[in-house]
């Protein structure tokens, strides 16, 4: 029988068996992209189910809900002291509880931005960015001082609290509103209909294109047994991006024909089924009241 020479790397077993198109060391870009796509699809297709619960925010008309949340966000942007922002944040947490939104899930959504912001603003506590009254002196040498200033600490606290409050507000809206309702709510704002329609279509076709991307990455992973060179990696990725571009242009033409066949002439018409009720007005009134309070301060 003819002797078959199996290369050494093919005999290896274990987790690091397929380097998945890694260029150089570490996890390859193909693997990273597959992970990013998977977590994206999971995030979109796996709603936490808060939109259908019978909570405070869910009972408010989506338009009024969006307007109220935006007003609260402006309020958070205007507040300047630690205490008022903590009061507002508590109000947001109360709203989340009343809307039966799990606090952990809200925190999970706000956390990445908060962690990023925390490390970003940390140096601002020191006197070389924010001079002021010293709270903790780190060292003093001749005329050179390094200390944490009271103003710096307060500045950081206000900044972090504000970012946290604003991110939580937007997350709260997105968690309590289904995607179709988000776009329907946007339609009643003074934004040209062209944009809102294109926005909802964008969202829909991201899912289609991301599927094309996922398929091509999985196919590449399945066929790859050896790390790629940088040039190969670039060439392959460029060809896939080109493919997605081609698909999107083709699809745009097809969608246009389908829309024309159904009588679309460039005017966007929408079905309006929302109706503002008493409690919606109360909610908007309440958010305006809070905003006015913040302006007064």
């Amino acid at each position: 029988m003819e002797k078959v020479n199996i290369p050494e790397w093919l005999k290896k077993t274990g987790d690091d068996f397929c380097p998945s198109c890694a260029v150089g060391r570490g996890k390859g870009f193909v693997e990273k992209n597959i992970e990013a796509i998977a977590s994206f699809i999971k995030e979109v297709l796996e709603p936490e189910g808060f939109a259908n619960k019978n909570g405070l925010l869910q009972q408010i008309d989506p338009r009024a809900r969006l307007l109220g949340i935006l007003l609260f966000m402006v309020t958070a942007a205007l507040l300047k002291g630690v205490v008022p922002i903590i009061v507002l944040l508590s109000l947001v947490i109360l709203m989340a509880v009343a809307s039966r939104v799990n606090a952990m899930i809200l925190l999970k959504r706000a956390l990445p931005v908060l962690i990023f912001t925390f490390f970003l603003v940390l140096p601002a506590a020191f006197n070389f960015i924010t001079p002021g009254a010293a709270v903790v002196t780190i060292f003093k040498w001749d005329a050179f001082y390094l200390y944490i200033s009271k103003q710096g600490l307060e500045g950081i606290a206000v900044f972090l609290l504000r970012v946290g409050t604003m991110v939580s507000l937007l997350s709260l809206f997105m968690l309590t509103t289904s995607y179709p309702d988000v776009f329907r709510a946007l339609q009643s704002f003074p934004i040209p209909k062209l944009f809102v329609t294109a926005l909802s279509m964008t969202f829909r076709y991201i899912m289609v294109l991301i599927k094309v991307a996922e398929d091509s990455h999985l196919a590449r992973k399945a066929r790859t047994i050896k790390p790629l060179t940088l040039k190969q990696g670039h060439g392959w990725l460029a060809s896939r991006i080109w493919l997605i571009l081609e698909r999107s242009l083709e699809m745009a033409a097809d969608v246009y024909l389908a829309m024309t066949a159904r009588g679309f002439n460039g005017d966007v018409k929408t079905m309006r089924v929302f109706e503002m009720k008493g409690r919606d007005y109360v909610w908007v009134g309440f958010s305006i009241f809070i905003l006015l309070l913040a302006v007064q301060m």
Binding site: A77, M166, L199, T202, L230, A253
Partner: protein, 325 residues
């Protein structure tokens, strides 16, 4: 690069939303004129494409990976005006659904990434592509467009963040929004984008756009008129406006002559005095000798500006002619 909610003061957010409004309006008008009813699906798919390529990790030398913004790619494929709308849509989806960037800062993010980026990228791409370049020059031109575009975008973001302590601090010197001054934001953004994000954008843009060139050039946006025309008009306006410099008091900082330095410092450095007369220029002080009346010196300025820019354009043109490959 995506500025989150709470980083910019309400004033800054408002100003940038107001700045974006006419840009969005104009973009919608231009796109409507060019594409009619086809616009909605094309813009939506363009935005979806933008969103997807922003998600991709691109391998870079050394085994690491990074993301690109893709503003230049979209501008080359859809044209700069459609790119404004597609990128704005993609940024809105990112902000609303995925918490990447903010709602109050959407105007700012769109201004940086959906306006500055595609336009800078688009025009630099066309300057680099003037004439009929070969494959190598094309690659360099596209990479350069992506590189400069992302750096200008970063500069805009750095300025927006850096002016926050100036326009919004409490009386006791406590910063209310983004706490770092321009002297911190600009170097930090410049270094990270010149060295890291810039090369990723350059590689990503060059690899995608040159691939499209090789396979199906018809997919790229074809401008109806000469794409460099607005640049020529802009240059002409700037040349005509140069006499405004005459209104400014004093000399530009650091450009003092030895007599001026003497009046500022009390003495003139010896080396400076020795080297000053080394080169007798043709038009000292951007004017012709003897043209001293305001009208004449304004003309002198315009002529100097026109002459200076023509020399630069000529050099670039000749370089393009020589480097055909």
């Amino acid at each position: 690069m995506h500025i989150p909610d709470g980083y910019l003061s309400p004033k800054t957010c408002g100003v940038l939303y107001v700045a974006m409004a006419p840009i969005w309006y104009l973009a919608a008008r231009k796109v409507q004129k060019a594409l009619h009813a086809k616009q909605i699906p094309l813009l939506a798919l363009g935005a979806a494409f933008t969103f997807v390529i922003m998600m991709f990790n691109i391998p870079i030398p050394g085994g690491s990976t990074g993301h690109m913004v893709g503003g230049t790619v979209v501008a080359c494929v859809l044209g700069p005006w459609a790119a404004v709308i597609s990128l704005s849509l993609a940024l809105t989806i990112q902000a609303l659904l995925f918490g990447d960037g903010g709602i109050t800062t959407l105007g700012a993010n769109c201004f940086n990434m959906a306006f500055i980026m595609p336009f800078v990228g688009y025009y630099i791409y066309h300057v680099g592509m003037a004439g009929s370049p070969g494959q190598k020059r094309r690659w360099v031109a596209i990479a350069l467009a992506g590189y400069i575009a992302i750096n200008m975008t970063a500069l805009a973001a750095a300025i927006e963040l850096g002016i926050q302590p100036i326009i919004a601090s409490s009386p006791d010197g406590r910063p209310l929004y983004a706490p770092y001054p321009l002297s911190v934001t600009i170097p930090v953004m410049a270094v990270s984008h010149l060295l890291f994000f810039g090369p990723i954008e350059a590689i990503g843009t060059a690899m995608v756009v040159s691939y499209v060139f090789k396979t199906n050039e018809a997919m790229l946006y074809k401008p109806a008129a000469n794409p460099l025309k607005p640049l020529w008009i802009g240059l002409a306006i700037l040349i005509i406006l140069t006499p405004l410099g005459l209104l400014a008091q004093g000399t530009a900082w650091g450009e003092w002559a030895s007599e001026e330095l003497k009046s500022i410092l009390g003495y003139a450095p010896e080396g400076l005095r020795r080297l000053e007369g080394l080169w007798a220029n043709m038009m000292p002080g951007y004017n012709f000798p003897g043209w001293d009346s305001p009208v004449k010196s304004a003309f002198g300025y315009v002529i100097s500006a026109a002459l200076g820019s023509s020399i630069i354009v000529l050099i670039i043109y000749l370089a393009g002619k020589i480097w055909k490959r």
